[in-house]
């Protein structure tokens, strides 16, 4: 114990303790020598001899002093400080070099850290503020043909009550709430959750409490309580603890605030921040959802989250769930035949923005690594060039006794300082770049909720530091090795002309530049492919006309409207809007085509059609007003459109699309055929032309429409469309006034032109294309800088040779061509390798797809253009032009060499 304390104390004293002063030690030594000399004189020696003896016994005054100095402090810290001081001096002296190196590193590290921040938020730590997130899993219902869908509330109850290998199963349903008094209500997004939601997730209360076990029950309307987010608490209540126990008016009903969730908790969907949590059983009060719908196993709208019991493996738990779900499918065969359930990691859940984000993020990460590689190659190149200039300095230091290791460490310290500065700069830019990424999110009601925690988090910091060290090592290993190979006498003797070592180094730098060109080509081809894919997709005809249409989503249930009142509101608003000048059409529907939100479906039975075993009879649908198809300019190809007479009292009718006819009626006219859904039989009255429903790139699915007045239910959305002659925004103020005229409590929150709104389906492709273009340009720039620096250096080295050539009559044009040819040679090598790499990359990203809907539909990121030769040729040609330009500047300098000057410089 003592010994350890002594060692620690000694280490502490050496590192931080007061320094023993060297002049004091000198005095002590002098005293020692004097005493020793006096003893010698006393023994009969001459004073000179006595002093000589004393010094010999001491073992040399200077050596003693050095030994004392080494003991005084920790020498390696001393040396490190020296290295850092020296590196700072070098950086300050070569400002241009430092700036280029630090900026390139900042770009590379910043971009990679940003990508990592998002990946961290989406994939690695999808939920903040929960206990042991690695034991949380998503519970998905699986349809008979293997597609993933949310769960129904009764299914959830079975899961919750019967599964043994879980520490709880919770369910949640995303919902918009209208909070506050009627005339100044505010839209707030939150979740309707099962009572045990917070307990299963392990969320702590910042203030008050979370839901109690007495609130875990399944009695509709029995739990008028709510938990609010820390963010909402701070912004709306100034973090006042007295708010606990007060009431809050949600959807015109008073609920009691019982608690505030921990600040890190943002809800159960990655990257999206919710503000309010209410027990799901309040659905019946808040949204007027009828009791039979809460008990309907068809109503699959609950996302399931479960916590594995400690020591239970994912596979065991999945099996237990599957066994139970399979039994339930038999017990409830009328609604769940062939259904099952499965578990998946949180990030894999197909609901929420991660489905959209994962594909682009994977590509983003890949591209960032690519850019980082180019950055490292570039900095290595710069360092090598610097090392050449500093060869004499290094040689001199070695001649004065510095070890090779010491100098190599110096090189490493310098590049660590460079990458450190770059990383600091890059990290500082991360929140900003993160926000830039957010603006690429499609405009949708939920877009404003997308946020990543931009506070520096430990994982991101550790990642950046690691990145920084790796980059520093990668960039300095070659220059450091070069130091090791320095031939001392040759260097000091050589008059300054590069010997054979110089040529080897040129080869190395050439290879680096060639690899930069190769990587830049990969980035450019990627940018080209994505941009082309994006443009191709843009050119796809959606099958409807989104221009001049204003879209607004109403959340009337949040105003306390019942179903009849909502229908009546739509009818009256429609009438008023049609009367307004410039408005040509008005319509409303449940789903928005090509929107951000998932599409819904209904399980159908079709008269005269026998489904194959396991065939998925869940067909996508929309609930529309009679004006919808004309407003969208979707023509009828057979039969008739809905009319106002297709109302609650008339027989149920349905319109199907052409793909529906192909699939279920083998192309024969379906008019008059009967189809069963929502518990009743519909008669097909018309066939609408195919259009795009979820993605522009999709292959058209079977789809059908039912009339708003016959099917519209409490839990459906209400999207209101207005087509006007001019700018859709001009219809906005009319819509506002008219909506307010009908009911002052109804607010138009987030109206947007349909054209913008449907951009959501293009989001992943847009992100991929714009990111690749930005990063491709950076890669191109870096490669050009690298090429230029190598060519300029080579020309500088060959000045004398060029002078001789010119003196012997070489033509300046010839000389510059010689230099350009050398540059092109380098670039060509890179282009060949780069083409091979790019083809490989295209293959890899061809398979990347994205999804924004629950039922497994997805579209490819690249579209169809993965093997477009023109893009490869174009990128290669472009790079060649850049290569010519980058080597032309040094070439011009070479051609303007004055032979006399060059020779005299010898």
């Amino acid at each position: 114990m003592d010994a350890l304390r002594a060692r620690v104390r000694s280490l502490w004293m050496r590192a931080f303790g007061a320094r023993q002063r060297l002049d004091e030690f000198d005095a002590e030594l002098q005293n020692h020598v004097a005493l020793h000399t006096e003893d010698g004189v006393r023994a009969g020696l001459s004073p000179e001899e006595a002093r000589r003896q004393a010094l010999i016994r001491l073992g040399g005054a200077e050596q003693t002093r050095q030994a004392y100095r080494d003991r005084r402090t920790l020498p390696w810290i001393e040396e490190l400080l020296q290295d850092i001081r020296f590196a700072l001096r070098m950086m300050a002296r070569n400002r241009g070099f430092t700036m280029v190196a630090v900026l390139t590193l900042a770009i590379g590290i910043g971009a990679t850290a940003t990508a990592f921040t998002w990946i961290d938020a989406v994939l690695l730590q999808p939920l903040g503020g929960v206990k042991e997130p690695n034991r949380l899993v998503t519970v998905e219902t699986v349809t008979s043909n293997g597609e993933w869908v949310p769960n129904s509330y009764p299914d959830f109850i079975d899961f919750r009550d019967r599964l043994k290998l879980f520490d709880g199963v919770a369910a949640t349903h995303v919902s918009a709430f209208s909070v506050g008094k009627e005339d100044h209500a505010e839209r707030v997004w939150g979740e309707l959750v099962s009572g045990n939601y917070f307990a299963v997730l392990g969320v702590k209360a910042e203030a008050g409490r979370m839901f109690l076990p007495t609130e875990y029950g399944d009695v509709p309307g029995a739990y008028p309580v709510t938990v609010i987010s820390d963010r909402y608490w701070r912004s709306h209540y100034g973090a006042d603890p007295a708010v606990i126990g007060r009431t809050i008016r949600i959807n015109q009903h008073e609920l009691t605030i019982v608690g505030v969730a921990a600040p890190q908790f943002h809800g159960s969907i990655p990257v999206i921040s919710f503000d309010i949590w209410v027990p799901y059983m309040e659905q019946s009060v808040l949204n007027g959802v009828q009791l039979w719908m809460l008990r309907d196993r068809h109503d699959r709208n609950m996302l399931g989250i479960a916590r594995l019991r400690p020591g239970v493996s994912f596979e065991q738990a999945r099996l237990e769930l599957k066994t139970l779900a399979d039994r339930m499918a038999i017990a409830n065969a009328n609604v769940s035949e062939g259904m099952s359930a499965t578990l998946m990691p949180l990030w894999k859940s197909p609901h929420g923005p991660q489905g959209l984000l994962i594909g682009p993020l994977r590509i983003l990460m890949g591209v960032c690594v690519l850019v980082l590689l180019i950055v490292c190659a570039n900095v290595t190149n710069l360092l090598l060039a610097r090392a050449t200039v500093r060869e004499k300095e290094f040689s001199a230091r070695m001649a004065l006794g510095a070890g090779r290791g010491r100098i190599a460490r110096q090189v490493l310290t310098e590049s660590l300082m460079l990458t450190g500065c770059g990383a600091a700069l890059g990290l500082a830019a991360t929140p900003w770049m993160s926000r830039a990424l957010r603006t690429l999110m499609p405009p949708s009601p939920m877009a404003s909720l997308v946020s990543t925690d931009t506070r520096p988090n430990l994982a991101v910091l550790a990642f950046t530091v690691g990145l920084c060290v790796v980059a520093a090592l990668a960039a300095s290993v070659v220059p450091a090795l070069q130091v090791g190979r320095l031939n001392l006498s040759a260097k000091l003797n050589a008059g300054g002309r590069g010997g054979s070592a110089g040529r080897a180094r040129n080869r190395l730098r050439s290879m680096l530049v060639a690899s930069e060109v190769a990587l830049a080509l990969v980035a450019l081809v990627g940018a080209g492919l994505f941009t082309r894919g994006f443009q191709q997709t843009l050119r796809i005809d959606p099958g409807f006309d989104p221009n001049h249409i204003l879209l607004n989503q109403f959340y009337l249930s949040t105003n306390g409207y019942n179903l009849a009142q909502r229908r009546e509101f739509c009818r009256r608003l429609g009438e008023r809007m049609l009367a307004a000048p410039g408005v040509t059409d008005v319509a409303y529907s449940d789903g928005v085509p090509l929107g951000f939100e998932p599409s819904w479906w209904e399980e159908l039975k079709i008269e005269g059609y026998a489904p194959r075993p396991n065939e998925n009879m869940n067909i996508f649908r929309n609930v529309i007003s009679p004006g919808y198809l004309p407003l969208m300019h979707i023509p009828m190809v057979d039969g008739r459109n809905f009319t106002e007479q297709d109302n609650e009292n008339a027989p149920a009718v349905m319109i199907v699309n052409e793909a529906f006819v192909q699939r279920f009626f083998a192309g024969h006219s379906p008019i008059g055929k009967k189809i069963h859904g929502w518990g009743s039989w519909f008669r097909v009255v018309g066939v609408a032309k195919d259009s795009k429903y979820h993605y522009l790139g999709e292959s058209t699915p079977a789809y059908f429409y039912v009339p708003f007045r016959q099917v519209f239910r409490e839990d459906m959305n209400l999207a209101f469309y207005v087509r006007s002659q001019g700018d859709p925004d001009s219809a906005l103020s009319t819509l506002r006034t008219q909506a307010r005229a009908i009911d002052p409590n109804v607010t138009v929150f987030d109206a947007a032109p349909l054209k913008e709104f449907i951009g959501a389906s293009l989001y992943p492709q847009k992100v991929a294309a714009s990111l690749m273009t930005v990063l491709g340009s950076i890669a191109l720039l870096l490669a050009a800088v690298g090429l230029y620096s190598v060519m300029a250096y080579s020309v500088a080295q060959r000045t004398q040779e060029i002078g001789v050539r010119m003196a012997l009559g070489a033509n300046p044009v010839h000389v510059s061509w010689m230099v350009v040819r050398q540059g092109l040679g380098l670039a060509t090598g890179g282009l060949v390798v780069g083409t091979a790499l790019a083809i490989g990359m295209a293959r890899a990203i061809e398979s990347v797809s994205f999804t924004n809907s629950g039922m497994g539909t997805s579209a490819r990121l690249l579209g169809s253009g993965a093997n477009h030769p023109l893009i490869y040729v174009g990128a290669a040609a472009f790079l060649s032009v850049v290569a010519v330009l980058a080597s032309y500047l040094p070439a011009r300098r070479a051609a303007s060499v004055d032979p006399m000057q060059a020779l005299r410089a010898e």
């Binding site: 000694s10 303790g17 005293n31 005493l35 050596q63 004392y68």
Partner: protein, 113 residues
């Protein structure tokens, strides 16, 4: 680190501490001479290594130093034992005795055969 210097440094430290314990405060030269005398002049110290060793002991907290006047009235730095040093002397001495005892058993001509 070579084992030899370790042992040597270890023993030097113990010699320094023991000498300080017996003789009270000493300056560097006096300490060196005293150690040589105690060893019956069998040891010839390299005085150059003494000072770093003293510094080390000081950093470890076993000894402390202060300036005073030497016998010839020079300003000299005197070293003295601290409480921790006292403890360390006892401990190290005991360890050392045990080591030598064990070793001597091996080296004794007719140990248990």
């Amino acid at each position: 680190m070579g084992g030899k210097t370790d042992v040597w440094q270890g023993t030097l430290a113990l010699m320094v501490l023991k000498t300080l314990q017996l003789m009270g405060p000493q300056h560097g030269y006096g300490l060196a001479r005293r150690i040589e005398q105690t060893s019956g002049d069998l040891l010839e110290l390299n005085y150059g290594t003494l000072y770093p060793a003293l510094l080390k002991l000081e950093q470890e907290g076993y000894i402390r130093s202060r300036w005073g006047a030497s016998e010839n009235n020079r300003k000299a730095k005197f070293y003295e034992l601290t409480k921790a040093g006292e403890r360390q002397v006892r401990k190290a001495a005991a360890e050392w005795e045990q080591t030598t005892e064990i070793l001597s058993r091996f080296l004794a001509p007719n140990a248990e055969a």
